[in-house]
């Protein structure tokens, strides 16, 4: 396989922003994007006239056909580089890769990446669930009444069968991320969570209960990417891209090559190779956590532990702030926010903040290198990125 042209140290994230999060009924989905974009721009010290590229993802609540163009029109930006990327939850990391490639090849110099929607208040719960149902194959899955939690539940069931992963270990993922969310000023969920509450929560699809499932939030997130050269003179401390890789194995669960091995191993391998780093070099990880089983699998796939040891990694406290590898220090999609592609984007925002430092009790001491993993579909599309606060 051909090694991709290295993007290491070529670009930096120079601004990050989050919209108001939770239930924000007075704002539209586009408005949430705009608020996050403005906050990211202010954070960077750049002017709106500096933006010559815009990338966004998709929206269930405002399903415009050409969302990229629509957002540029709404923001009053006329970029020379624009696209709507639809890789499900993997979109934010994939967008960062596209942005890096565009900057390195001179297609744009400063790119705004943003995503989000008003998924909590912008449509009825039934309409949101019905939109999400479209994730199943229309002819060979949907007639059987599956659901997104149901598809992930089948993955969880298989992991439990093959490796002995337990309900308690999965529940501990939710407890961990809630503890982290309590330290974040704008997390959606601010109530402490006990293990027993997760185990006793309303069952959704065996073995997953309500609290094994991510939130439905109104939220938007944004970050600004520019060349490493340009980044040096800006207000914010730049965070450099060290490595990035993606891998896609299927879309529908029935066509997944395996229910225990997914594409994160390959996307991670590419990212590690580009960075010249390994799992032992990572100080903090932001892993996709749409359901509690997912970060367990990702820990294993990305080499932070052996296959089958992801559950114990959480239950033994290694993923907590202060532990071996703090995971989802903002509270993840289980407790910080989830609104379409904004969910995984907040992992990137949090990684940047951790690498800049100064987060108080939430700060991972000595954080210099962060890994972010986004996945989309039913563990179908994967993108891993490695960020650092200095050129390694």
């Amino acid at each position: 396989m051909k090694t991709p042209t290295s993007l290491k140290n070529k670009i930096a994230i120079v601004g990050v922003g989050e919209s108001d999060i939770g239930k924000v009924p007075h704002m539209t989905g586009l408005g949430l994007n705009a608020q996050a974009a403005k906050r990211a721009l202010d954070d960077s010290g750049l002017k709106v006239s500096d933006i010559d590229g815009v990338l966004t993802a998709y929206s269930f609540t405002e399903p415009y056909f050409m969302l990229g163009s629509v957002l540029c029109e709404y923001l009053g930006v006329k970029p020379r580089f624009n696209a709507s990327v639809i890789s499900g939850g993997a979109s934010p990391a994939v967008m960062l890769k596209h942005a890096a490639e565009a900057i390195v090849s001179g297609q744009a110099e400063t790119i705004l990446v943003c995503a989000g929607e008003n998924r909590a208040t912008g449509l009825t719960r039934e309409a949101a669930l019905s939109a999400l149902l479209a994730v199943g194959h229309p002819y060979f899955e949907q007639p059987y009444g599956g659901s997104i939690p149901g598809y992930y539940a089948m993955i969880a069931q298989r992991h439990m069968h093959v490796y002995g992963t337990t309900r308690e270990q999965m529940a501990q993922v939710a407890v961990n991320t809630r503890a982290h969310a309590l330290m974040h000023p704008s997390a959606h969920m601010k109530k402490p969570l006990a293990l027993q509450e997760v185990l006793d929560a309303k069952p959704i699809a065996d073995p997953l209960g309500m609290l094994d499932c991510c939130l439905i939030s109104d939220a938007g997130g944004a970050f600004i990417v520019t060349s490493a050269e340009r980044a040096r003179d800006l207000k914010a401390k730049p965070v450099y891209l060290q490595g990035i890789g993606e891998y896609h194995t299927h879309e529908h669960l029935m066509c997944a090559p395996s229910l225990t091995e997914f594409g994160a191993t390959e996307s991670g391998r590419t990212a590690y190779e580009m960075a010249g780093l390994g799992p032992q070099d990572i100080d903090v990880a932001q892993l996709y956590d749409c359901f509690t089983i997912v970060p367990i699998i990702e820990l294993e796939e990305l080499g932070f532990c052996q296959r089958g040891e992801g559950g114990a990694f959480f239950s033994e406290g290694h993923a907590r702030i202060g532990g071996k590898l703090p995971v989802n220090t903002h509270g993840g999609m289980l407790s910080h926010a989830h609104a379409g592609a904004a969910g995984g984007l907040f992992g990137i925002v949090e990684a940047v903040r951790q690498l800049r430092g100064g987060l108080g009790e939430r700060q991972v001491q000595g954080a210099e290198v962060a890994l972010v993993h986004n996945e989309g579909g039913i563990l179908s599309s994967h993108c891993t990125l490695i960020l650092a606060n200095d050129k390694g």
């Binding site: 059987y144 598809y151 089948m154 069968h161």
Partner: protein, 137 residues
């Protein structure tokens, strides 16, 4: 309950023979005559070697449960009256994997590795959906 209110199979150019066979209570799958691989779901090219020399073959209709879930809260309101019900990934004995419900009195006691046998569920107007029952090993 009456299952004819649930989604009806939609045949298209890729899948028409599959759904027509189901109406005759036959489960058919695609076989590649170039590389010999069998696959699910039906498509225009072999997903392994990209040959378009494909044929339909009858599956025995037997297999085992690769994984499953019991849905306690349905996303599609049409399925809400059925809750709780089992959705499973079935490894057909010929190799390909497909999704279906586990039906029958002991459906909710399904386990990974259980042996299953195809059956057909009437979704109205003679449209039949391949489904599975667990059987003794």
């Amino acid at each position: 309950m009456d299952k004819t209110t649930l989604p009806t199979p939609v045949a298209n150019a890729d899948s028409r023979p599959y759904w027509e066979a189901a109406r005759e209570r036959r489960l058919v799958i695609r076989k590649c005559n170039a590389c010999g691989e069998l696959h699910f779901m039906p498509r225009h090219l072999c997903p392994v070697c990209w040959s378009d020399r494909l044929e339909w073959v009858d599956a025995k209709g037997t297999g085992s449960v690769h994984s499953f879930t019991v849905i306690r809260r349905a996303s599609d309101p049409a399925f809400a009256p059925l809750v709780p019900y089992a959705v499973a990934l079935i490894d057909l004995d010929e190799g390909p994997r497909m999704m279906a419900n586990i039906l029958g009195a002991n459906a909710l006691a399904v386990k990974i590795g259980d042996r299953v046998q195809v059956t057909f569920e009437d979704r109205g107007d003679g449209a039949m959906l391949p489904q599975f029952n667990t059987v003794a090993a």
